[in-house]
């Protein structure tokens, strides 16, 4: 055993390796991305297969195929990714697996970097699949190993649901020095049970319902659930996942006494430890983030057993159903629940703080693309449909070139929908390269086939930038290494039937602007591919400077671009140290005052 400082996501990857994972697949998404990047880094050395799949649905299907043949497989994604993968997931619960299949879905209460705060524990219950909820990176690793065993015992996928505070927390974690020897794969055996006809579903649904009780029994003595009875107190607290940490620390800070039941297996909730607590405590508080998944099951158990304990949580609004919990919030909840005066600290009022929201990097080509489309559309009533990626920041001032953003791949279809009722407006959609492959293609085919008058701008920066530069099918590398099987986006767009397809360099303002104008003038779907590598992936260009003799201080460079490398530290516009040398601002400056150093 070696003790290593591991992030929760890395711990999950190591847990899978120790369990002898044979196939791992994922689509990146915060806070889940480091699970597969860690696995990909270990794959060659440990002798297993890892891939960045084109989207989450495909990732789960690839993992399912491997598990059909008896291999241990893992698929990882963020919570909204599970929406994309929900079609295979719901059916897979009926069909089941042979080799262990662990589906890691990272939730993001807050949310810190997601469109929704959806609770995957509730999704697991909906899909009728067991779910594990780790409190720490160490527990995440242990749960990953266990999840493979449980999956093979139940013949069902098992969901591991860490949240941001486990995924992106680091802890000292023990890892095995020896590599697990993967089990020999028993191979796919032909059987009608792999083909989901309605009559099979009807039978398998009965089986699936029965497996809920088998899963519940498996959790009865699970080390991931721990009951600590406090004889001095009639208060009982049930805490799930990371909330357990907050409860323990809040108890320490307040000195309040309570029995505590830690839950690591929220669905199906084992009855034993809950009933034991119900017998001991008169007042129960359920502390969990997001939905009352544990609380609902506790209430049902109490009702069935005619327990008279008072149960508090989401339904008496003691515990919020939105946002993230933390020690301070849980402390206030406990003080309120126990009728104690809330703790408060007087602090001096700080000076007004500047807004520091994320912005596109200095030298980011998306800034140029947004500027160009805005210029091309000048004087025309234009709507800009955005999508998911760094380029969602196009919504921020001064760019203001993103009027909508819904979910992965939606921009092109939203623009098409808008065009049906507002044909007098120009409809422009933005899609990143990775998002185009993920789920943008069906929307584009739909726009072509149904003749939608839209302009799609594909912002191709040759990477999946926001989540940490993962490869996608347009590139000559995979998770495992180089490949010559890259898919050309322009040819793909042509193959979708688009008649107007142009590739432009967003840092060539004049030429790219003409292309954008032509695209807007084209009747029917037009596609412009703005091609420039992500600045985080390339070396810096020549630093720029503003010639003070020529600068008229008109402010165009600042007010039009909002580049973090242009500021006014001494009153006049100046190019700062962090200039990337993209050379776009000198094309925007109306008097030619910006020059190469």
């Amino acid at each position: 055993m070696t003790l290593k400082l591991l992030m929760g996501n890395e711990a999950i990857a190591y847990g899978a390796v120790e369990a002898g994972v044979q196939v791992a697949s994922a689509y990146p998404g915060t806070p889940s991305s480091e699970i597969l990047s860690t696995l990909a880094g270990l794959a060659l050395e440990k002798g297993f297969y890892a891939e960045w799949s084109v989207n989450e649905k495909v990732a789960l299907e690839v993992a399912a195929g491997a598990a059909y043949a008896g291999a241990r497989a893992l698929a990882a994604m963020k919570q909204v990714g599970l929406n994309v993968a929900s079609d295979p997931l719901m059916s897979l619960a009926y069909i089941g697996v042979k080799g262990g299949l662990v589906l890691v879905v990272a939730d993001d209460p807050g949310p810190h970097s997601s469109q929704t705060e959806q609770d995957t524990r509730l999704f697991a219950r909906f899909a009728k699949l067991p779910v594990l909820d780790p409190a720490t990176p160490r527990e995440a690793k242990e749960m990953t190993r266990y999840a493979f065993e449980l999956s093979e015992k139940l013949l069902l996928p098992v969901i591991l649901r860490p949240t941001t505070r486990t995924c992106h927390a680091c802890q000292d974690v023990e890892i095995q020095d020896t590599t697990a020897v993967p089990q020999p794969v028993s191979g796919f055996q032909r059987s009608p049970n792999w083909v989901i006809f309605p009559n099979l579903s009807a039978r398998k649904h009965v089986w699936l319902n029965g497996q809920q009780e088998v899963a519940r029994e498996s959790f009865e003595n699970s080390p991931f659930n721990q009951l600590t009875i406090n004889e001095q107190s009639d208060v009982g607290i049930i805490a799930c996942g990371v909330s357990y940490n907050y409860v323990m620390e809040a108890l320490q800070l307040t000195g309040l006494e309570a029995s505590v039941l830690k839950i690591g297996t929220p669905y199906p909730l084992p009855a034993g430890p809950v009933l034991q607590l119900l017998q001991h405590a008169k007042k129960i508080l359920v502390v969990e983030e997001q939905e009352p998944v544990v609380e609902d099951q506790v209430i049902a158990l109490a009702w069935k057993t005619r327990s008279t304990a008072q149960i508090s949580g989401k339904y008496d609004r003691l515990v919020a159903r939105e946002g993230e919990l933390n020690v301070n919030k849980v402390r206030a909840i406990l003080e309120n629940f126990c009728g104690r005066q809330p703790h408060s600290i007087e602090a001096a009022v700080p000076p007004e703080l500047p807004l520091r929201t994320p912005v596109l990097c200095a030298g980011c080509s998306h800034r140029a693309s947004f500027y160009i489309l805005k210029e091309a559309a000048r004087g025309k009533d234009t709507l800009f449909a955005g999508d998911i990626g760094c380029y969602t920041l196009g919504a921020m001032p001064p760019l203001n070139t993103t009027d909508t953003c819904l979910c992965m791949g939606a921009s092109v279809s939203i623009a098409a929908g808008l065009s049906r009722v507002e044909p007098h407006r120009q409809q422009v959609a933005f899609l990143g390269d990775s998002t185009f492959f993920h789920s943008g293609i069906p929307g584009l085919i739909n726009a072509v086939h149904n003749g939608a008058n839209i302009t799609l701008v594909i912002l191709d920066n040759s990477t999946t930038a926001m989540t940490g530069h993962q490869p996608h099918p347009g590139l000559n590398r995979t998770a495992m290494g180089p490949t010559d099987q890259s898919i050309n986006i322009a040819r793909m767009v042509e193959a979708c039937g688009v008649e107007f397809v142009r590739v432009a360099d967003p840092f060539d303002l004049k030429a790219a602007l003409q292309v954008a104008k032509d695209a807007l003038a084209f009747a029917g779907p037009a596609v412009v591919i703005m091609q420039r590598e992500c600045v985080a992936q390339i070396n810096k260009g020549r630093h720029r400077r503003i010639n003070p003799d020529l600068c008229t201080e008109c402010g165009a460079c600042i007010d039009e671009l909002g580049c973090p490398a242009i500021g006014k530290p001494a009153g006049q516009p100046e190019i700062l140290e962090n200039c990337f040398g993209c050379g776009f601002c000198n094309q925007v400056c109306p008097v030619g005052a910006i020059e190469e150093v």
Partner: protein, 196 residues
């Protein structure tokens, strides 16, 4: 023994590395360690906070408000933003200079550097504001601010690790060719506390 450290700054300043260094130094002493960061879009020039916890028995990775022992600030306004994490009387070591965000250039918000410095100086514990840019020049590399602050931290009393142990933890994260620069940066940080 319990030590909670908050590190605040702007995406790209190396706060994640600093938190890993502190955690591994704690691990070297056989302590429980935790770090917590928000990673993702916030790293694009946004506000970032790292939290490091060292102790005998730890639960969560995030430090409750008013409980941190030390606040390390890589940027002036971000240090002010993190003050509510600090316990009354906790120590602050921070950069005195500003990274002015785009929102200020655009006139959407304001940045009063003097008021920020004043507010920090009025905090009840020990407060050291460093001219980090100048010190980085002295160290010979503009990106060594994080290691300079770790060097400064190593002079505080009551830490579980010796300065040399922290330096070794720093170097374990630094590529070969930058080892000497970072040794120098650590030393520059230590010296800055003698005059501060």
């Amino acid at each position: 023994m319990k030590l909670d450290i908050v590190i605040s700054g702007v995406g790209g300043q190396g706060s994640v590395l600093a938190s890993r260094v502190l955690a591994s130094a704690g691990m070297g002493l056989g302590l429980d360690v935790r770090t917590s960061e928000v990673i993702g879009m916030a790293q694009r020039e946004g506000s970032v906070t790292s939290q490091v916890r060292l102790g005998e028995k730890l639960y969560g990775a995030t430090i409750p408000d008013h409980e941190a022992d030390i606040l390390l600030g890589f940027e002036l306004a971000e240090t002010v933003r993190a003050v509510p994490k600090l316990k009354p009387g906790g120590a602050i070591i921070a950069s005195a200079s500003a990274i002015v965000p785009v929102s200020v250039q655009l006139g959407i918000s304001s940045y009063d550097q003097k008021a920020m410095q004043q507010y920090l100086r009025e905090q009840p514990g020990r407060v050291v504001l460093l001219d980090l840019e100048e010190l980085a020049k002295k160290a010979g590399h503009p990106k060594t601010g994080n290691v300079i602050i770790l060097g400064a931290l190593s002079t505080l009393p009551g830490l579980p690790f010796e300065p040399e142990q922290l330096l070794q933890a720093v170097l374990s994260y630094i590529p070969e060719k930058l080892q000497n620069t970072n040794k120098r940066a650590f030393e520059v940080g230590r010296q800055s506390m003698e005059v501060a």
